[in-house]
């Protein structure tokens, strides 16, 4: 059966390691074929609740989706992927409690990745909360292309700040903001965005986080004459483009309003293509 080389796979994976870091659970999975196809900005969909394979899903039919945070191509167990989970709902708490050795059904890598610049231009990466996970492999890829990388990392508090040490290694400059001021400056992304954009002279801004943050990034990028690439987090059900549940209001190349799917047309959209006000109203 011929498959496009970059197409997603549906595989049985194994939970290799599970580690609590601050408010998050870091999972390392053996997922055959998925690491090789990974590109920054893509994600995986997991089945949760121990639904038996071949029974069309158990009690929990909707998939749970996570950014691929890291790919380790070589190891004793073959290639692995790392995911960052914030245990807040039924599915994420189930994953939080899952013991290494468990089998997981997963699909990926899914979605359209971040578009990379052809020239070594300055790039600003803006991440909020666990969504910062999507940006760290991007920072490495940009650095390989000689793009100067500046990072702006935001979270509610220290516990929700993702791997600050690793982010430092990937970037020339890192700005940290927390809502409670426990680390870095007190405030949110919108408070420092213009300043960081000016300092970095970024030609491209990449962002991952809640929709209101992405909206602020898209607008700031316009003001500064930069391109923006925003990685949207919509609740996904199938995550594979089949159900048309994850509607994102966009503007097409021809200027016409359209409804795109976050999972296959995104999750990464050009910031100037998303109708942010309609997205907030939806």
């Amino acid at each position: 059966m011929s498959r496009p080389a970059r197409g997603p796979l549906h595989v049985s994976g194994e939970l290799l390691a599970s580690k609590r870091v601050g408010a998050y659970r870091h999972l390392t999975l053996v997922a055959p074929g998925i690491p090789e196809r990974f590109r920054p900005g893509t994600f995986v969909a997991l089945s949760v609740g121990g639904s038996p394979t071949g029974q069309g899903g158990g009690e929990h039919l909707a998939r749970r989706c996570f950014w691929i945070h890291r790919v380790k191509p070589v190891g004793a167990f073959g290639a692995t992927i790392d995911l960052v989970v914030e245990p807040v709902g039924t599915g994420t708490r189930w994953l939080d409690a899952l013991a290494p050795g468990a089998t997981l059904e997963l699909t990926g890598p899914l979605g359209r990745p971040f578009a990379l610049p052809q020239e070594p231009v300055s790039c600003l990466l803006v991440g909020e909360g666990y969504a910062t996970a999507a940006l760290l492999p991007l920072a490495e890829r940009l650095r390989e292309r000689q793009c100067p990388v500046t990072l702006l990392v935001a979270a509610d508090d220290e516990a929700h700040l993702l791997s600050a040490i690793e982010t430092r290694r990937a970037a020339r400059a890192v700005t940290v903001v927390t809502a409670d001021g426990s680390v870095g400056r007190r405030g949110g992304v919108a408070d420092v965005l213009d300043e960081v954009l000016t300092q970095s002279a970024a030609a491209v801004v990449y962002a991952a986080g809640p929709a209101r943050t992405l909206h602020a990034v898209a607008e700031a990028a316009e003001r500064h004459g930069a391109w923006s690439q925003t990685a949207l987090e919509q609740p996904l059900t199938c995550a594979t483009g089949l159900c048309h549940g994850c509607a994102v209001p966009v503007v097409g190349e021809d200027g016409a309003a359209r409804t795109a799917r976050a999972c296959v047309d995104g999750p990464v959209f050009r910031g100037d293509r998303v109708r942010w006000v309609d997205l907030a109203d939806a």
């Binding site: 011929s2 549906h10 069309g56 059900t237 199938c238 594979t240 089949l242 048309h244 509607a247």
Partner: protein, 282 residues
């Protein structure tokens, strides 16, 4: 392709096997093809197409319910012209039977849709969606009584060229499904599809449909009753099927074929796996 002994005769068509993709659960087909060749299946039913494009309803459009999914997509589709121009040519080349699902606001519109769809190359059959969970809210022809369903079938048949089979997709309502099936078959439908989502509501009260394993016992009752009452009827079963064992239960009840829907949203390989398991392939 399947060996000849696995083929199924349905409505005058020879299908490669008894497993079809249910309407609204296979995306445009291309997304599904990433996980397995559509030619391995008996057929692919498109999402329901309308005469004019529809943007679909507000989010959330899907909601997880115990062992089920609530859906309120709002018939998002590009309209029949766009579909025939951009999606049908690809589908026609996939080596499987393509069944185009249609839904309309008036009987005249049904006739118009039928004329446009039936003439397109590669269309094997038409499925009329007589069981939209929120027909009134979406402004489509409301099938409340079996004679309404018969009226639609008659209107479509008047516009349908000879040799193109017509499938009528009925609501899995055990009280009315036998009467509905008798009415649409008397009106000239080639086969009945039993059934669709059950009428339900989103947690916020918006009209929705319930699909998935939660509805399987209800669907099995409907299929069993229709097959017993109308032994000559050609029945396609749908409703929470996710494994070969479950498919066999519906085939044993008298169905000629099964449609896989919600299970694909949980595992995009389900249809291919069920088809392979039924063939006894390794």
């Amino acid at each position: 392709m399947s060996a000849p002994e696995h083929t199924v005769e349905l409505a005058g068509l020879t299908l490669a096997g008894p497993v079809l993709v249910a309407s609204g659960c296979g995306g445009t087909g291309r997304e599904l093809a990433s996980y397995g060749a559509l030619a391995e299946l008996g057929g692919f039913v498109t999402r329901s197409l309308t005469l004019n494009p529809r943007a679909g309803g507000p989010v959330p459009r899907l909601w997880e319910s115990p062992s089920g999914l609530l859906n309120a997509i709002g018939l998002q589709n590009p309209g029949v012209e766009q579909f025939l121009a951009t999606e049908m040519p690809w589908l026609a080349q996939q080596g499987t039977r393509i069944v185009v699902s249609i839904v309309a606001s008036t009987l005249g519109e049904y006739a118009e849709l039928t004329r446009r769809v039936a003439g397109a190359p590669g269309v094997s059959a038409i499925e009329v969606n007589l069981s939209v969970p929120d027909a009134a809210g979406l402004g489509v022809f409301d099938v409340r009584e079996p004679f309404h369903a018969a009226n639609v079938v008659a209107a479509v048949l008047r516009a349908l060229p000879r040799g193109v089979p017509l499938l009528a997709k009925l609501r899995p309502d055990p009280h009315r499904v036998v009467e509905s099936a008798r009415c649409v078959l008397d009106a000239g439908a080639s086969a009945v599809v039993v059934g669709n989502s059950l009428l339900a509501a989103m947690p916020d009260g918006r009209p929705a449909g319930l699909s998935g394993p939660a509805l399987r016992p209800v669907a099995l009752r409907c299929v069993t009753d229709v097959c017993r009452a109308l032994p000559e009827a050609e029945v396609v079963a749908a409703g929470g099927i996710g494994s070969a064992e479950e498919a066999r239960a519906f085939l044993a009840a008298g169905a000629r074929a099964v449609q896989i829907g919600t299970a694909l949203l949980h595992d995009p390989t389900t249809a291919a796996r069920v088809a392979a398991d039924l063939r006894g392939a390794p």
